[in-house]
């Protein structure tokens, strides 16, 4: 084995909110943009906190919190252009926000009302995919289609795809097949791996003995590790990778080094497998705090700004809560309606019998 090199980490903001520079990646944003990045981080966290609370109150079956991963998601999500297409896992609430998916759609999934319900083509944001890394192949196929359409090459109008997955997910065969495909067809795709250090109770070391961004080398395309708690770096690195993809330079793997500050889902109990001290250490790198410090240091905010953001967050939380509580249960007969484009006689028969049977109950039958 070769001697382990120090792992390079692209960072544009230190945990203290100090702006640093990087030779390959940088961003110059307007003050307004900086503020809106922060606002997104806050709102996204608020969605998450509210959803977690609703789950605790029995309103959702389960919730997969993004707590701690806001910067990786908002940074990468905002790097997407309107024409780009994103393929999420089940935890990309921050990216969903950037794609303007109503948070209530996310809640409807975890409430058991639907499997998402937004229009993936319209939002250019696929439905959540729960089977680990299946979506990375879908994303690759979509990217192959972009190439076939000739929609790659132009730095402005060229299209690109981003596929999200986790550190645990990196072990699955399918994502490695996606790497093969994307590199062989030189597809316009960015693989965005949020290494939040854990796959449920399994540490990243059980998935790989070297940093995950290096996986790409073995398939012949570049990999880069970015500080996933740094929204500016996440934005810069993703934007560069997307631009590289859209201009025909093929795939990139981004490993966003971050931390799952909460439980895997609300069903999980992380005290069984990880030390409280680990969480404490990562709290010092909180993605919101560092952006807040940066804004202060830049002197581009005042207390009115923060109050307004908090007010927006409160309003959003209230809307989510209300929307969740008012969300109607689906009409069960609809379960027959979307199985096929062309319904089968068997389903039509079952649907009719179902309707009759339930009508019987309604009429006091049985």
């Amino acid at each position: 084995m070769t001697v382990p090199e120090a792992t390079p980490l692209v960072q544009l903001l230190t945990p203290e909110g100090e702006r640093v520079h990087h030779p390959d990646y940088d961003v110059e944003l307007t003050d307004e943009e900086y503020r809106s990045f922060y606002r997104d981080l806050v709102l996204v966290r608020r969605i998450d906190v509210e959803a977690t609370a609703l789950q605790r109150q029995g309103e959702l079956g389960i919730w997969a919190a993004l707590l701690g991963q806001e910067a990786a998601q908002v940074g990468s999500g905002r790097a997407l252009r309107p024409q780009d297409f994103a393929f999420p896992t089940y935890r990309e609430h921050g990216v969903a926000w950037c794609r303007e998916v109503d948070p209530l759609h996310l809640l409807s999934l975890f409430r058991g009302v639907s499997n998402g319900g937004w229009d993936p083509q319209d939002k250019r944001f696929n439905l959540y995919t729960i089977v680990i890394v299946s979506q990375t192949l879908h994303a690759t196929g979509y990217a192959m289609g972009i190439t076939k359409d000739g929609a790659v090459g132009d730095p402005d109008t060229g299209e690109a795809v981003i596929a999200y997955f986790g550190d645990g997910a990196s072990s699955q065969g399918d994502v490695n097949e996606a790497f093969v495909w994307a590199s062989v067809y030189n597809s316009p795709i960015v693989f965005f791996c949020q290494n939040n250090q854990w796959g449920i109770s399994t540490p990243t070391a059980t998935q790989s003995r070297i940093p995950l961004y290096k996986r790409a080398e073995g398939f012949g395309f570049p990999g880069v590790r970015v500080d996933g708690n740094d929204v500016l770096a996440s934005y810069a690195v993703t934007r560069a990778a997307l631009d590289s993809a859209r201009t025909g330079q093929g795939p990139t793997l981004i490993e966003a080094f971050t931390y799952r500050m909460g439980a895997h889902t609300t069903s999980d109990d992380p005290t069984r497998y990880r030390l409280a001290s680990e969480l404490e250490a990562w709290k010092l790198k909180d993605p919101l705090e560092r952006m807040k410090s940066f804004l202060y240091k830049q002197q581009i905010v005042d207390s009115a700004f923060f109050e307004k953001v908090e007010a927006d967050a409160d309003e959003l939380a209230a809307r989510i809560r209300k929307g969740c509580l008012e969300m109607p249960d689906p009409d069960p007969v609809t379960m027959f309606d979307y199985v096929y484009d062309e319904m089968t006689p068997l389903l039509a028969e079952e649907r009719a019998a179902f309707a009759t049977y339930h009508a019987g109950f309604a009429g006091g039958g049985h």
Binding site: S114, N115, G116, G117, D119, P120, Q121, N126, L127, T129, V131, S134, T136, L137, H138, A139, T140, G141, Y142, A143, M144, G145, I146, K148, D149, G173, D174, E177, A178, V180, W181, V184, T334, D337, Y338, V339, Y340, D341, E342, T344, P345, L346
Partner: protein, 324 residues
């Protein structure tokens, strides 16, 4: 009208579908320059180019997974799986993604994907090259499954499958690839989802699909000499099953035997038997019997003749059914 083998008829059908709609793309292992190991895609890459007919890396999950993405992008991918036994690495993508995408998105995402699989035995091949995996797919809501049995159907059904907006597992009986028939490409095809009576008879209905249709027709001819008049039904669609046609036939003959190469246990024959005995309870004069491959793995090829249902085994069971 031309005499075409089934392989050539499929080739012509694919060509017609590609001519009609430039979103149709063919993908799979060795389908380009080689034309596929059975030559079903022979010449298509040459004529339609490498963007529309392309060799993939060697990984079936990758084939189906990227086909799903291509479908989301507006393409109509036709995937070739080289042999039946090699579809299983793609099983997860097929049953959990391809089959469920339409329901998951409440119809907002359509999956016009065809998965062509040469299936079944009888060609003297080594392990994994003679499987009959249809039950694994027919049990899966969201998928449709069809099997052609002759060149005419092959020509039309592959086009109909490609035209459908539902994901379809398209099974091609590989040992019939080289059998010929007149194919009138100007004819009007039967609906894709319909079963068809391919021989009328009065005493018993043989229900088959794919490779076993010919076996059943041969059996019916042989039975004729013994004075037994057998009807033969080609299911054509395995999911959905065309029960109205099945019932119509069995109502007349009052007896049915299902024939397939796949093992009996929890196979297609079981479903047909269950439905027939439920729906035609008072009308049948014998239980539905099955003639199938045994409940063993497909054996080494020197034993396959004994494993596969043949004319004699079919008639043997027909005799039993007629004795009720």
């Amino acid at each position: 009208m031309a005499q075409l083998t089934m392989a050539k008829a499929l080739n012509e059908g694919l060509r017609a579908a590609m001519d009609r709609d430039d979103k149709v793309v063919l993908m799979g292992e060795d389908i380009g320059r080689l034309g596929g190991v059975f030559r079903v895609t022979d010449g298509l890459q040459k004529d339609f180019g490498e963007e529309r007919v392309f060799d993939t890396p060697l990984a079936e999950s990758g084939i189906v997974g990227t086909a799903i993405g291509l479908a989301m992008r507006g393409y109509r991918p036709v995937c070739e799986i080289q042999f039946d036994g090699f579809v299983f690495p793609a099983y997860d993508q097929i049953v959990s993604q391809l089959a469920k995408m339409h329901a998951r998105s409440r119809g907002l995402v359509k999956m016009p994907v065809v998965i062509r699989i040469p299936f079944g035995g009888g060609i003297g091949a080594v392990e994994h090259h003679s499987e009959s995996p249809e039950a694994y797919f027919a049990h899966t809501p969201g998928l449709k499954v069809v099997a052609c049995s002759n060149p005419v159907d092959a020509y039309f059904m592959v086009q109909q499958a490609i035209a459908s907006d539902d994901p379809i597992v398209f099974l091609e009986p590989k040992r019939r690839y080289w059998e010929k028939a007149e194919v009138d490409t100007t004819g009007t095809p039967d609906p894709l989802w319909g079963a068809r009576v391919v021989r009328r008879g009065t005493d018993l209905t043989l229900i088959a699909y794919g490779p076993m249709v010919k076996t059943c027709l041969d059996a019916a001819s042989a039975a004729e000499e013994d004075g037994r008049d057998l009807e033969v039904l080609d299911l054509r669609s395995l999911s959905p099953l065309d029960f109205p046609t099945v019932f119509e036939s069995v109502r007349r003959t009052r007896r049915a035997v299902v024939v397939h190469e796949a093992s009996s246990s929890v196979g297609l024959g079981a479903e047909i038997a269950a439905r027939l005995s439920e729906q035609l309870y008072y009308e049948m004069e014998a239980p539905v019997l099955r003639v199938t491959g045994y409940n063993t793995p497909y054996p080494p090829s020197r034993m396959e003749e004994e494993f596969l249902p043949d004319l004699d085994r079919v008639l043997h069971v027909v005799d039993t059914a007629l004795r009720y």
